[in-house]
Amino acid sequence: MAAPMLRWCCLGRRWVLACIDGGSRHGRGAAIGFTSSRKRGQSSVAQQPLITAQKSRKGEHKWAAVVGLEIHAQISSNSKLFSGSQVHFAAPPNSLVSFFDASLPGTLPVLNRRCVEAAVMTGLALSCRINKKSLFDRKHYFYADLPAGYQITQQRLPIAVNGSLAYSVCAGKKPSQVITKTVRIKQIQLEQDSGKSLHDELRSQTLIDLNRAEGQLRVDANISVHHPGEPLGVRTEVKNLNSARFLAKAIDSEIERQIHELENGREILNETRSFDYKLGCTMPMRDKEGKQDYRFMPEPNLPPLLLYDTASLPPGADPQQVINIDWIRERLPELPSETREKLVQQYGMLPEHSFALLNEVGLLEFFQNVIKETRAEPKKVTSWVLNIFLGFLKQQNLAVNESPVTPTALAELLSLLDRKAISSSAAKQVFEELWRSKGKTPSQIVSEKRLELMQDEEALERVCHAVMEGHPQVVMDVKRGNSRAINKLIGLVRKATLSRADPTVIKEILEKKLSS
């Protein structure tokens, strides 16, 4: 059936670094608990009463919301978790299905090594404890896209537990007010995913494609509210939220709904709900079901999964048949937190900048390429990349790799700026032109538009002198102590030089003349 999935409880990688408005009146901020992750499928939910923000209304008891996320992430592998069928999107229906995937009698699951490695890597990256022994279970329920009538998962003893993830949140209105939060990961588990159902309501039928389920990353949220100090409230599950924004909205609206129900004397049902994007609120999903009873049992066809480290590796073991956690740990790529730390150390940038650079696909590489080719200071590069460059991208909704401005071009521009060949405002003009017209280099644009800064200081002095002569009143004002008057003079000189003079230099010259 479906492609191998990894389920963990946390926000997906990209989303974790996004700025979440922490100013929600429910103060949902930190209340994110992780649940398990499973490969090709599900995670178990765990409600962890983390620190929650409170909402108070008219002096009533404060409410605290508790949120647990189940994240299903598809493992990047060639074949499925328990069969040798291909994992590929957009294939003809049921073409990537083996006899096992179709649950034909007599077929057995065979565990994919790569999936186990991926699970261990994920566990290590999320600072989990890797269980050297983990078990597989069956979770039974009936649905057309689950032909076996059960899903193989890791409910009792999953492959990794007790991890954590640090992420940043925009605490206030200012983008610089970024605080770091940590969220716990209860567990990570390997599991199967289901197939895909297409509901044909017209003909009252469901079409089933057992290749794989939709969505490489899916999140379900478990939400409950309670008064701090009291036991946890009844939770509801909101399923299949596919974007961080809708996830946030769904959670917020569900918290609101629960508080509203409870404050009006009603009860919360332990049910599954879905988020109605149009209405902006959650709606009940499964009816008449009451509490699901999955009748968990050990998967009888799979022995325990044993993992080793260098110390415990059995001598003479077939390397294909054993997995060494230490070996995997050594091969972990540099994790984002390490990359960010390096950026801060190497370039002296603020932590929030390092987050921003990693938050956008390809941006870090772009930044690093610019740094390589320019002699401008890293802080300048950071500022330009994060503010101006990123600003232009966002405005036109482009990805970094769709940018009309190459790292080389920006590097050249910043070099020009650095050696004061052009002014800051001229540089912005050049950038705009670079964005609009392909193929031109910054130097070309500068000479075309005659944006070069006046290098001739004598000529500049002459202009200053002329302006001062032409505006005796203003000069008097300055001499009388009006500090703002000098800015007027600077403005006049700039105009006279068609903005080709550096305001700092102008100011210096004027001050020298005025004091003499």
Binding site: S77, N78, S79, S83, G84, S85, Q86, P92, P93, N94, S95, L96, V97, S98, F99, F100, D101, A102, L104, V110, L111, N112, R113, R114, V116, H140, F142, Y143, A144, R156, S197, L198, H199, D200, E201, Q205, T206, L207, I208, D209, L210, S274, M283, R286, D287, D293, R295, F296, M297, P298, P300, N301, L302, P303, P304, L305, L306, Q320, Q321, I323
Partner: protein, 136 residues
Amino acid sequence: MWARVVRLGFWSWGSWRRGFTSKADPQGSGRVTAEVIEHLERLALVDFGSQEAVARLEKAIAFADRLRAVDTDGVEPMESVLEDRCLYLRSDSVVEGNCAEELLQNAHRVVEEYFVAPPGNISLPKQDEQEPFSHN
């Protein structure tokens, strides 16, 4: 926790046994309530059909309950008879699939290359009456 699950030929009941007996009667006098039967029928899609079948179930539970006579204090539960076996790890290569035609031959109904199933578990707001799941 998982008590020692011994398969006395009651394949599906093993792990549920613990569930029912505690629901039905902690002392194990063996009555299984109609409520529990209904719950089971819905969960497992089995049809008890007759009082005889329920009586058989109760006898089976009573028989399995004799496990309680065994003192398992300090004994590590056995999760699987395969616990000493090695779990074989397959290398990540594509060796199966591409047999849609064969697989679809098994299906009662097919639309293009999809299996066809009755509708089920559709979101509440749209539907009014939900047909009970009919097997076949």
